[in-house]
């Protein structure tokens, strides 16, 4: 699976971090960092992260 975050949209709400902590993190400046090719076993978590992004900035491909 490929994860793409539109960083122009992202406003650092951090909701994705709660939903999928293995894939999304906030760095010490509160900015989003993420794994763009997570294991397919994490699909559920990543779909949930995409759902809870208030900006709908997370896209899952493949």
């Amino acid at each position: 699976m490929k994860v793409v975050v539109d960083m122009n949209k992202c406003q650092d709400h951090g909701q994705c971090v709660f939903a999928a902590p293995d894939v999304f993190q906030l760095d010490e400046n509160g900015r989003l960092a993420y794994v763009d090719d997570p294991d397919d076993a994490l699909l559920d978590e990543v779909e949930e992260a995409a759902d809870v992004c208030p900006l709908q900035a997370i896209r899952i491909e493949g």
Partner: protein, 396 residues
């Protein structure tokens, strides 16, 4: 699994319900019936980016999960009646849909002020069309705006209007401070000061008596006799649940649709309610059924309700309410149920005059955390989220 699930209301909660039904293993048909002409779109930007002209419609549409590619969308169609005992709903084109499971997801509509005066020039903000219509009026030069209601949406609209360059923006509310109901006095005062510093005026402690004008609003007359000249009025005075189509089934529809602790409606295993319209007890708190108009709730309720509708027996519903609001250059971020701890409010970090993190307590226990300020305050609030999640149930 075969048969048909019908979802009434095709907005965020309806879409999430369809997706979660698939996740829960439902492979039968799903029909979504929604009276708006659009596919589900995201509402929070309506009072912010859309009003500010910064978000085109394409950017609002939700991207449905691949799992719902085969569901049937009946858009521009209203559910007008229902016979739950017969498992059927009636649509405005006269047709009927029978179902094996029904999801109530019809949300809310704005409450309107009943006081006398002309209607033209008065707006609400719930739909895309509302936001676009209001934007057109706010971008006319020299316009004077009165926002009735100092709740979240009223404050957001006032902030966006100031950001658009509107010189005269006044917020009216019978309560003495903005957002004092959900957030209490400490943050209410902090918000008032921040809005005033950025150019929003307030007329607090008095309501609207009537609107002035012949064909169109020209002013707002307050309860204390003050007259505020106005070219545009925004009414943000709460909302009413869209439940008329459920009348006649013996349900409790006093404020939304009452559910049990598993989101079932009327004690039936085949009807659930999700999103803003659901009035549910939260097992995390006191068991009192409440509606929760927060963006996180459609997703939380959909997940739980889909399990119930497909025959699972999940633990009683116990979501952690989460809310944010963007106003001017600051954000409010809330976790938990601050309103339940309004009588014992403590500053956890920072200073109400700058970035602040506030804790709400009930019987000595933390029940909610709200941050007001920049990213640092917001991420500090997030650190308390785990603590709030771990706490045992609060019983009345």
């Amino acid at each position: 699994m075969t048969g048909r699930m019908v979802v009434a209301g095709a907005s965020m909660a309806g879409l999430r319900a369809a997706e979660q039904l698939r996740s829960a293993g439902w492979t039968g048909a799903i029909t979504l019936v929604g009276d708006e002409p659009h596919m589900p779109y995201n509402r929070p930007p309506l009072s912010k980016e859309v009003l500010a002209g910064k978000a085109p419609f394409e950017s609002l549409a939700f991207r449905p999960r691949a799992s719902v590619a085969d569901v049937e969308w009946r858009l521009g169609t209203k559910v007008v009646a229902s016979r739950l005992a017969e498992r059927a709903v009636v649509l405005d084109d006269g047709s009927e849909l029978s179902y094996d499971g029904l999801v109530v997801a019809t949300g809310m509509r704005p409450r309107r002020l009943g006081c006398p005066g002309p209607l033209a020039g008065r707006h609400t903000v719930r739909t895309l069309a509302d936001a676009q219509g209001l934007r057109e009026e706010l971008t006319r030069p020299g316009v004077r705006v009165v926002v009735v209601g100092a709740g979240f949406i009223g404050c957001e609209v006032a902030a966006t209007a100031v950001g658009l360059g509107v010189a005269e923006v006044t917020v009216v509310d019978p309560l003495p401070l903005p957002m004092v109901g959900p957030l209490g006095e400490l943050l209410g005062r902090a918000l008032l000061r921040r809005h005033e510093e950025r150019g929003v005026r307030f007329a607090l402690g008095t309501g609207v008596a009537r609107f002035e004008g012949e064909d169109r609003v020209t002013g707002v007359v307050l309860g204390d006799g003050t007259v505020l000249p106005a070219d545009v009025v925004v009414e943000s005075v709460g909302s009413l649940a869209n439940t008329e189509w459920l009348d006649g089934n013996g349900l409790d529809l006093t404020d939304g649709v009452l559910t049990d602790g598993r989101l079932r409606v009327g004690g039936r295993p085949d009807v659930v309610a999700v999103g803003d319209v659901a009035r549910f007890p939260n097992a995390r708190y006191d068991g009192v059924p409440r509606r929760v108009e927060h963006w996180s709730i459609p997703t939380d309720t959909a997940k739980h309700a889909a399990k119930v509708l497909t025959g699972a027996e999940p633990a009683p519903f116990a979501p952690l309410p989460t809310f944010w609001s963007d106003q001017h250059d600051f954000r409010l971020q809330s976790f938990g149920a601050p309103a339940l701890g309004r009588d014992d409010v403590r500053v956890l970090d920072g200073d109400p005059a700058a970035d602040v993190l506030v804790g709400y307590h009930h019987a000595g226990r933390l029940v909610g955390v709200v941050a007001l300020g920049g990213p640092a305050a917001v991420s500090a609030a997030a650190r308390y989220r785990a603590e709030l999640l771990q706490q045992p149930a609060l019983t009345a």
